[in-house]
């Protein structure tokens, strides 16, 4: 059966406009935001607009033995949504409805193509809050968030995507539709299949709908910043925050390199005259007196750990300005070249050691590495800067990327905190989970996708 026949079949099911084959167009769908990963040439890009359309695509591809790479907005950072040669790119962005908001039961039903921010705004109108907030929240989609089990800044208090998922609708390898999970808060009827599909990076099925739990809308945030003359001191402060049981709604760290980049970009002195080598930024969304008390406790810890600068505010605009320093880091790093951002997670007591490891690697490879991260979770994003036109620097950046993963594992951490394995960390997954872990992954993959057509070669190979 020829490729043409498959395209014809897909057009019969989805209509002409939803099946793209012009390579100028399909190329635009062929890779995510991770420069390390290679991308193949898709046979076609399809944009179904309902679950029946997804079923038709899956069934047709199964019949023709053609692999399927599911894709949301393409904001991923692991190459998990990159095309492989001859695949059908199954783009879910037209399944873009917020199907239901049940405020009384604090849940919503949402399709995968809805942009995270649009979903947040939709539930906020009902006084509700959808916590997962990856940095790309203004353009990434819920489907991608589910497939990568995305995190974000507020995980420290509210958990990651999987912690919000109650149920899923998934198109399986044979084209049948699985409805798993529930609309109730609790439930133990059968295996927790929903959480098996969440984070499976499109290798087990295509998520076409999710039922998610929502939180009460928190209070407006109060913001706190502390500057330290060493990363060790900042790391100790984070460890003490954890040990003393404080749970801020945001707790970010920046190392000296990222501070300098942000200062240069914003033309400001972040340390306000102090010798600032590490910055902690925190928020409390508990409101009023409680927020003040939480931030005062944070301040006490930071001062005890030797902070040269400690400042809290409940002024919203001022808080935004302070956070801006963290938010501009990646943009600011473009002053020096292009960047490659890594993603590791270490026990929260080992953050300073991870930053020290990155400094060592930076010297070894001769490239700037800025470390920013979600300190409250130990989830760090060391970001390597290299010249866009230098193959040598790119090679050294790749070396640094791997060396950082090695440091994370040696500190008892993981090779990915929230970006996923995709096509760039496959051998690292094997290192982290070992032969037995890999065996179980393969058993489950073979059980649910016997033809190996769902995103084959992402995460691990059969």
């Amino acid at each position: 059966m020829s490729n043409e026949a498959l395209v014809t079949r897909l057009r019969e099911h989805l209509g002409k406009a939803a099946v793209l084959t012009d390579s100028d167009v399909t190329d635009a769908y062929s890779r995510d935001m991770m420069p390390l990963a290679s991308a193949g040439k898709p046979l076609a890009v399809v944009l179904p607009s309902d679950v029946e359309g997804v079923q038709a695509v899956v069934k047709a591809c199964a019949e023709f033995g053609v692999p399927i790479v599911p894709r949301g907005a393409g904001s991923g950072l692991s190459g998990a949504a990159n095309a492989i040669d001859g695949c059908v790119m199954l783009v879910l962005t037209k399944l873009d409805q917020v199907v239901e908001i049940d405020a009384a039961n604090r849940l919503a039903v949402v399709q995968p193509g809805v942009v995270n921010l649009d979903f947040r705004n939709a539930v906020e109108k009902h006084g509700l809050f959808y916590p997962p907030d990856p940095s790309s929240y203004d353009w990434c989609t819920i489907g991608g968030n589910l497939s990568t089990n995305a995190g974000g800044l507020c995980c420290v208090k509210y958990g990651v995507t999987t912690d919000s998922v109650l149920g899923l609708e998934v198109v399986l390898a044979d084209g049948s539709v699985l409805k798993t999970g529930r609309r109730t808060v609790k439930g133990v009827a059968g295996y927790d299949l929903a959480r098996l599909f969440v984070g499976s990076e499109g290798t087990l099925g295509v998520i076409t709908q999710a039922t998610v739990a929502l939180k009460p809308l928190p209070q407006l945030p109060s913001t706190f910043v502390a500057g330290f003359s060493s990363t060790e001191a900042a790391g100790e402060a984070v460890a003490r925050v954890v040990r003393e049981g404080l749970v801020p709604s945001l707790l970010e760290i920046m190392d000296a390199t990222s501070i300098k980049a942000a200062e240069t970009y914003l033309k400001t002195d972040v340390g306000a005259g102090t010798d600032c080598k590490a910055l902690l930024l925190a928020q409390s969304d508990s409101g009023g007196e409680v927020a003040r008390r939480e931030l005062a406790a944070l301040e006490q810890i930071c001062v005890d750990c030797g902070a040269d600068l400690a400042y809290a505010t409940d002024d919203l605009e001022e808080g935004k300005m302070l956070l801006q320093v963290r938010r501009v880091v990646l943009t600011a790093l473009e002053l020096y070249g292009v960047w490659l951002t890594d993603d590791v997670c270490v026990p929260r007591t080992r953050i300073a050691e991870l930053i020290a490891g990155c400094e060592r690697i930076s010297e070894e490879v001769g490239l700037r590495i800025a470390v920013v991260g979600h300190a409250g979770d130990g989830n760090m994003h060391p970001t390597i800067v290299y010249a866009p036109d230098s193959e040598d620097e790119f090679a050294r950046a790749q070396k640094a990327f791997d060396a950082i993963l090695d440091v994370s594992l040696s500190l008892g951490g993981t090779v990915t905190g929230e970006h996923g394995i995709g096509r760039i960390k496959r051998e690292w997954l094997a290192k982290e989970i070992g032969e037995v872990g890999l065996k179980v992954h393969r058993q489950i993959k073979q059980a649910l996708d016997p033809g190996n057509l769902f995103n084959p070669g992402s995460m691990f190979s059969l």
Copy 2:
């Protein structure tokens, strides 16, 4: 290969004292606390004391083709730990070590045989809190909690067992040891296998160790009670608590039948002179002014919904006395006969409808049904009382048990909120998850346990 040869092999590996075959002794291990489930005669009961012992049992049973039923303390309420004829009962109570408490990273490593309460006490010494608190917490084990994904009273604020799990060690069907998950708060390296094994009721592998996240120790609880002249009013109050975003650390409901039983048993007037048909009991563990504010908000909602009685206290002893009314219900019901407790979970707006359904069923079958439950989660335990010596009443109790599940499904609920499917709700699992859901369950079971030796026939049949 004979049964004797298997017993000899098991004794070689575990020592004589850890392999029991005297039927007087093995009978004591052959069933859990659910009277509806039948129990077979085990070939042997084995009590290994380390992971190597568990591996030896699994390998020997695989070689001899003998099924294994893993078991903790036997406090289960679904028959999931009941013997099947000729099986080896794999009792995990000798793996009873708290391996590590890492207070700085707020995590612990624990073996399955540790009693829930002992574990709570161990981490409390470090100022830490392990939330899952099933009613049997003073004798159930962590392994059973993991296998059933146990809940409890504090789920409304802190989630169920799976929400605390970071990683697991599991002995697989071929005797190999899987280490899955991590010690970090976040991590997306590979499938979420830990949460697949949690709640799988011993059908996929034998959990020999868990790494769990701990919470800061909460403040001492303040307690609130409200009495209503109708369940509708109490149900409306629960719905409003959810809608207004209040998150108490406990929110329990009692219907008229359970109130009357408790009153008779405790020789007290729960309603303090009012015509009390439904009771809400709540706690806040936020401490001080915050707790007072949370309970005041609760009180306002209850008064708005027509409560005849509303009372809050931050006196610990008084709070315990108030909660005692809830805690004695099952014991109090023994005044009337023996009981059979059901376990359903409905959307939190449908609690009053569920109670009304139970009242209807009670009239139909002519048996007393008392409804108590975790109102904050919608997780209800309608408890049917019948005469111990009446086969007819037992048959009607079974009929009521099923009718309650039917009502729960019709209200958009699930057939089990926290007790599990086990051997008593298999056909109900099929009804709830449907053919496709069952197909995926079987695919996963066959992939991980191709010989179908782990607790075969529990949850579903192949």
